[in-house]
């Protein structure tokens, strides 16, 4: 998850540089414009050969669809070419560094993909008899064991489908625990000003009022402010650690102590677990609940926006409230507990229809087994080393938001070094595209002006880091030298120039329509 420039509409400037010589057909080398399938396909064409059905049951009379649906078909070669061409308009981690802070774009091993596609995992139904899926339940049990061991926590709920879903899971467990303990009146959740936007959103969604906790000048939770706001109405605090400024919360044990003393629970946003995996166990810090983005720490692919997976580890105090389903040992075999009534449990309910993201569990376990206990510790060390290397090598040309002390797995800069250049964080990011890099996360965390959050991850080589550093240094020098056009016009080397996000929001056009309406025009 990232706050990358979303909600910060950009308006494209007229191109000031010379246009390339026009081609005869409007083509642009290998970067062809690609029509939509609705413009390419035929209404009577199909890329699938199927036999004809023999008839329809009389009972469906009056329930059948007669009007055209409006779905074009493509032959198989047309389909391949269409989607391969589209794929070429995407940047991806397999092409180059993807330094989105807080999003963790690391190498996605293909072994994981191969394992997830074993029919024994991909071709099993969530509701077939449990006697026929013992391997799948065994895998879930093993994944749970790894997650519990790495975090030092006694329980885990596997089913949440993404980080925010995990946050919801954690808060609902907290709420159920409070209700069971006669503390149902606790209706406030505290979150730092620098929190991921999902934290306050989830808390509000779970029925809580959100209060912000301030932060200190060195980018950490303000303990005095926390102590002042903790009280009998507080149900939980939500703290990201390492936090969104890329820093470890030095006083985290004290935060947990104060929180528990006030009768509240400590929810930790585990989005950045890859920075400490194998070196720090959140259970040792006093955490009560923490989601783990399997796609971030354990390398399952982001796939252009998902699917993710957000298992939540729980402390002893919350374990009983985990949602269904879960796996238990039943003698030599495994049992799947799907309903609260079965075990007379205190489960707060169910978050999703089936067993969660099994395909992601396989990928994550494949990554865990590959790295092992030793490799995962090295993961954290290299992630942190790479980020500090970037911070050190760019600090003389850009302005680190927190120059003193090490950062964790991401390096955070503000835009004070751009002051007076006429170049904004957004312009700088778009110019990075022309140099062959995906931009870093922009304008997040909100507590840092013009933030640029760079997360290299542990799977980048020194060669790639140096290439990136060289490009950013060159851009920084160009900005300071007054080469403003380079930034305002960027990108010029991407499949498209800067896109008008304001127009898209003002006149939403969310689907293709058969009769093309009047051309879009900026107001």
């Amino acid at each position: 998850m990232s706050m990358n420039s979303v909600g910060r509409p950009t308006r494209p400037e007229a191109p000031a540089n010379d246009m390339p010589t026009a081609t005869l057909t409007g083509g642009r080398g290998l970067l062809q414009d690609e029509p939509l399938i609705f413009e390419l396909g035929g209404w009577d064409k199909s890329g699938v050969d199927l036999p004809e059905a023999t008839g329809v049951d009389d009972a469906l009379d009056g329930l059948l669809r007669h009007d055209p649906i409006g779905l074009p078909g493509l032959s198989e070669p047309e389909t391949m070419r269409h989607y391969v061409r589209l794929s070429q308009k995407n940047h991806a981690i397999d092409l180059a560094l993807y330094p989105l802070g807080s999003c963790t774009m690391k190498h996605n091993p293909r072994l994981n993909e191969k394992m997830a596609r074993l029919p024994g995992f991909s071709d099993i139904h969530p509701l077939q008899p449990v006697s026929t899926v013992q391997g799948a339940l065994g895998l879930m049990d093993q994944l749970a064991h790894w997650l519990k061991t790495l975090t030092g926590m006694p329980a885990v709920a596997l089913s949440p489908k993404a980080g925010a879903h995990g946050e919801l899971c954690g808060l609902l467990a907290i709420r159920a625990a409070h209700e069971a303990n006669g503390q149902g009146h606790r209706k406030t959740v505290l979150a730092p000003t620098s929190a991921h936007g999902t934290n306050p959103a989830t808390a509000a969604f779970a029925g809580y009022t959100v209060k912000e906790i301030g932060q200190t000048d060195d980018g950490r939770v303000d303990l005095a402010d926390l102590a002042a706001k903790l009280g009998p109405d507080v149900a939980a605090i939500m703290v990201t650690n390492p936090n969104t400024c890329g820093l470890f919360e030095r006083e985290v044990i004290e935060i947990a102590r104060l929180t528990h003393e006030a009768g509240a629970y400590f929810y930790c946003d585990g989005a950045n677990f890859n920075a400490i995996v194998g070196r720090v166990r959140p259970g040792d810090l006093g955490v009560d609940a923490m989601h783990i983005n399997l796609h971030k720490t354990f390398s399952t692919p982001h796939g252009g926006g998902g699917p993710g997976a957000g298992p939540v580890v729980l402390s002893e105090a919350l374990a009983a409230y985990a949602p269904t389903p879960w796996v238990v040992h039943d003698g030599d075999s495994f049992k799947l507990v799907e309903h609260e009534v079965e075990e007379a449990s205190a489960a707060f309910g169910r978050l999703t229809a089936f067993n969660g993201q099994m395909g992601m569990y396989v990928r994550a376990l494949s990554y865990m087994l590959s790295h092992g206990a030793d490799g995962l510790r090295q993961v954290a060390e290299d992630a942190v080393l790479n980020a500090n290397y970037i911070k050190a090598r760019l600090s003389d040309v850009m302005s680190p938001a927190f120059p003193d002390g090490p950062c964790m797995h991401e390096a955070l800069f503000d835009d004070s070094w751009l002051e007076g250049t006429g170049v904004t964080t957004l312009d700088f990011a778009k110019a990075m595209i022309d140099e062959g890099f995906h931009p870093m996360t922009m304008y997040f965390p909100l507590v840092v002006h013009g933030a640029m959050l760079i997360e290299p991850t542990e799977t980048e080589s020194k060669y790639e880091l140096d290439r990136f550093i060289t490009a950013l240094r060159a851009l920084a020098n160009a900005a300071k030298a007054g080469d403003v056009d380079r930034f305002k016009n960027a990108p010029t080397q991407a499949p498209l120039r800067r896109l008008d996000e304001t127009l898209a929001a003002r006149k939403p056009r969310l689907k293709w329509t058969p009769v093309s309406p009047a051309p879009l025009a900026a107001e």
Binding site: N4, S5, V6, L36, K45, S46, G47, D57, L63, R65, I69, L71, T79, V84, L86, K89, N90, H107, F121, S122, D123, I124, H125, P126, L127, P129, T132, A136, W146, T149, K161, H165, L168, G197, P200, A201, A204, F205, F248, V280, P301, H302, G303, T352, F354, G356, G359, M360, M368, G372, A373, L385, S461, R498, L499, A504, A505, P508, L510, K511
Partner: protein
């Protein structure tokens, strides 16, 4: 540690550039009490071959759906997926890209989402669709929250034909948000019973068609009753292939349509990842949860696509956000869209008809088994039957005989008092031989 490119020399050089002696100096902010010096108590790293061996051994302990006559449905369906679908979604540029926050270099993903939204709107017969949700059940829960926001009323009426896992998912979220739920008793064919439960406080009515027992319902009258009371109609569909044969939710008056899209382009995967389809009337566009992709132009006036209307979303609005969604099922949506592009209008209609055809055969075969009563009258590709014995026991016995005979309703709702009800689905993959084997095995088990 084949995934970690740094060499010891690299590390030494980098530490020196940073100006610290060892990597431990980079962890100084961790409280001393919480610093772990050794490795945790887990196995050490393993080579590719070893990992393959270990995971393959686990996989081998599962009976795959393709290895036996197979009749499970109840929210997840086994269909044939063309080879090109999986090939394309494994292309690096789709598989290893992130959320398209930089639209200039994410047009591949964005155009796919725009195509997906158009397909989903067409299938559901509604004006606007989003770029997918986690799955059908979380989509249904989000739909209830959305109806609550729109109508500012406090109650959701849930039909007795709604998948019990969907009911639990909705109830869990609704309870958290302070929305009341009125869940009607399970019934094979009683979607219309929700009409009697509608009152002035009803924000929405949630019905499923085909429902969990396989019953297909024309919900037009329910839509009218809901609208007359100022409530919204949410229509849930767990088998998206049915859209190819049956009237769409939009045509029948639905305000919001939610579906599980797994059926098209995606495998069973033991329950996930799946892809939630979500569509609604245009007037509710700004209340829709999740991501939306919109058309726009670039600085040279060329057509392009961006994520839009994200001011509704939680990463912007913080505690004013309208949903718990922070992502979508991008890759699963891509698989859906590719499969749908290959099928086209004719292909989908043919696939749907073929599924229904197979279910007709299944129904005829089950009707011929002494003691079995077919409960579902109007069905698409799934039916419910009543057995003379406990359905879970029958399924377990048949599994021992090599037939995966379907889902006992008690597996979904153990307290519903329907222990003798079995849900069976047939798809284009169900052969005549499969049906014959089921019929034979079931006849034998029931006679015992």
């Amino acid at each position: 540690m084949r995934y970690l490119p740094l060499t010891p020399d690299d590390r030494a050089e980098m530490l020196s550039a940073i100006g610290v002696k060892s990597v431990d100096d980079l962890f100084v902010d961790v409280p001393a009490a919480a610093r772990r010096t050794g490795v945790v108590d887990l196995p050490l790293h393993a080579g590719e071959l070893e990992v393959e061996r270990e995971l393959s051994a686990l996989a081998a302990r599962n009976r795959t759906a393709g290895s036996a006559p197979f009749f499970c449905g109840a929210g997840a369906y086994r269909h044939h997926v063309p080879a090109s679908v999986d090939h394309i979604i494994q292309r690096s540029e789709f598989l290893t890209s992130y959320t398209p926050y930089q639209p200039e270099i994410a047009q591949g993903t964005l155009q796919v989402l725009f195509e997906f939204q158009t397909q989903v709107a067409a299938l559901t017969g509604l004006e606007v669709a989003n770029a997918s949700l986690y799955d059908g059940s979380t989509g249904a829960a989000e739909a209830v929250m959305m109806a609550n926001r729109i109508t500012r009323k406090g109650k959701a009426v849930l039909s007795g034909g709604l998948h019990p896992h969907y009911v639990r998912s909705i109830e869990t979220l609704a309870h958290a948000a302070g929305v009341a739920t009125d869940t009607l008793a399970a019934a094979v064919d009683a979607e219309a019973a929700v009409i009697d439960a509608i009152d002035a406080d009803t924000a929405c009515v949630v019905v499923q068609t085909p429902n969990v027992f396989g019953t297909v319902t024309d919900v037009t009258a329910i839509a009218e009753a809901a609208h007359a009371a100022g409530a919204l109609l949410i229509v849930v569909t767990t088998e998206a292939v049915s859209y190819g044969l049956l009237k769409s939710p939009g045509e029948m008056g639905a305000d919001i349509a939610v579906a599980e899209g797994q059926s098209i382009g995606n495998g069973l995967n033991f329950g996930g990842p799946y892809v939630g389809l979500f569509a609604c009337r245009e007037k509710y566009m700004r209340q829709i949860p999740g991501r939306l992709c919109g058309e726009t132009v670039d600085a040279e006036g060329r057509r392009g696509f961006v994520l839009t209307l994200s001011t509704r979303e939680q990463h912007i609005r913080r505690d004013k956000a309208t949903s718990n969604i922070c992502t979508n099922s991008g890759l699963c949506a891509l698989a859906f869209t590719i499969h749908m592009s290959l099928l086209g209008e004719q292909g989908l209609r043919r696939l749907a008809a073929l599924n229904h055809d197979r279910a007709r055969k299944l129904k005829a075969a089950l009707t011929a088994v002494p003691g079995v009563e077919v409960l579902t009258e109007r069905y698409f590709n799934e039916i419910a039957v009543r057995l003379p014995r406990d359905a879970a026991e029958v399924v377990e016995t048949l599994a021992g005989n090599g037939v995966i005979a379907g889902v006992p309703y008690s597996r979904l709702a153990p307290t519903a008092g329907m222990d003798d009800v079995l849900l069976l689905a047939a798809t284009e993959l169900t052969s005549d031989a499969d049906i014959a084997l089921l019929q034979k095995a079931l006849t034998k088990v029931i006679a015992q």
